[in-house]
Subunit: 214 residues, 2 copies
């Protein structure tokens, strides 16, 4: 596929990002693409499958958010993607490969990523939840919920997601602290390790600042 194809595909899908929470806007997709291309350098990859899978991986998210999680954005996204890719004349074998990537990119997944392209999308998506960008995303979502800025003594068990207690730090403890163990590719692990360390150091520092220690 050439640049014109991707420009048209991007134009076609932008509507699915209108009104989504900024933590999953098209800038997230663009960052995931950067990371995925970086990981792909070390792997034997069908670049068109990977590129299309990344571009389309979050197009089902608006329905998930609007249904308060009832609809799974990965499954829903794969369905929408299939329809769009057929419109664009992509062959069915490639479409199946792309849809496998999209269906399996969620952390809470029944289906595991099997192809290398699916593993790269999974890793790149998780990596964008780590590091400085990960901090900004978790804090942004906390702000969206009206949650506290920082509570070093948060008890994860006694507090709830999507509540005023659901600070960036809580989200880090619940979702991002151990995500490194799930990263599947070699290059993905290298990138994730640095971002994981940065994020852990960040919250250690935030705890010290909150206590007036630094």
């Amino acid at each position: 596929m050439d640049d014109e194809f991707y420009a048209k595909l991007k134009e076609r899908i932008m509507r699915y990002f209108e009104g989504v929470n900024p933590t999953h806007d098209f800038m997230h997709t663009e960052r995931v693409l950067n990371i995925a291309l970086n990981i792909a350098e070390d792997e034997n990859v069908d670049m068109d499958v990977l590129r299309m899978a990344v571009l389309l991986h979050d197009i089902g998210r608006k329905e998930q958010d609007e249904s308060c999680g009832e609809i799974c954005h990965a499954e829903n996204g794969a369905k929408i993607a299939r329809k769009i890719l057929r419109e664009f004349g992509v062959d069915e074998v490639k479409i199946n490969k792309i849809c496998h990537c999209i269906e399996t990119h969620r952390t809470r997944r029944d289906k595991a990523p099997e192809s290398i392209e699916a593993k790269i999308l999974f890793d790149a998506d998780k990596i964008d939840g780590l590091g400085a960008i990960g901090v900004l995303r978790t804090a942004s979502f906390a702000g969206h919920l009206g949650a506290v800025v920082h509570n070093p003594e948060i008890d994860v068990e006694k507090t709830k997601a999507y509540s005023k207690d659901d600070s960036a730090y809580r989200e880090f403890l619940v979702t991002h602290k151990n995500i490194i163990d799930k990263i599947m590719t070699k290059k993905g692990k290298e990138i994730a390790q640095k971002r994981d360390r940065f994020m852990k150091d960040f919250f250690e520092r935030a705890n010290k600042e909150a206590a007036g220690e630094v």
Copy 2:
């Protein structure tokens, strides 16, 4: 003033923090108090004036937010503080000193802090806008506005505060990047320098991550 006095004062003022944005909730006031007490160790300070000034410095904020900035929270806060402190039987000389601190703690101020207690409140309040806590506060407020998570190429001149462009990074560039130059006390400068460096490094890293460089 003894512990009982402060416990009662805290109880009396908590209502002013109900429904305020989490970036200026009572946890912010508690963090500012920690920082202020730290700075005060190196200065000759009326600790009661300082402690009351810190506790009361943001009690006028709800009206500022509700009036979209028409009402100044520093001026308004000083008026409310005067009323409360009279209720609590604090003498007028002390009240005047406390109100001077509250009136002059804003960055965009007509009146400059003159007393050491006012300088310490000013510094401590600004320091809580720096460092890891500063990052979390700016990102939380961006999330509250529904602003983008991170745009390294943001043009501050062409974008507006309180808009979808008003990311944590924009807020950093506009409000926090040069605040270190306004810090007045010696110990305040020491603490601020570390938090200033941390915040600058953080956004440099976020820019690199956004470009897929790290």
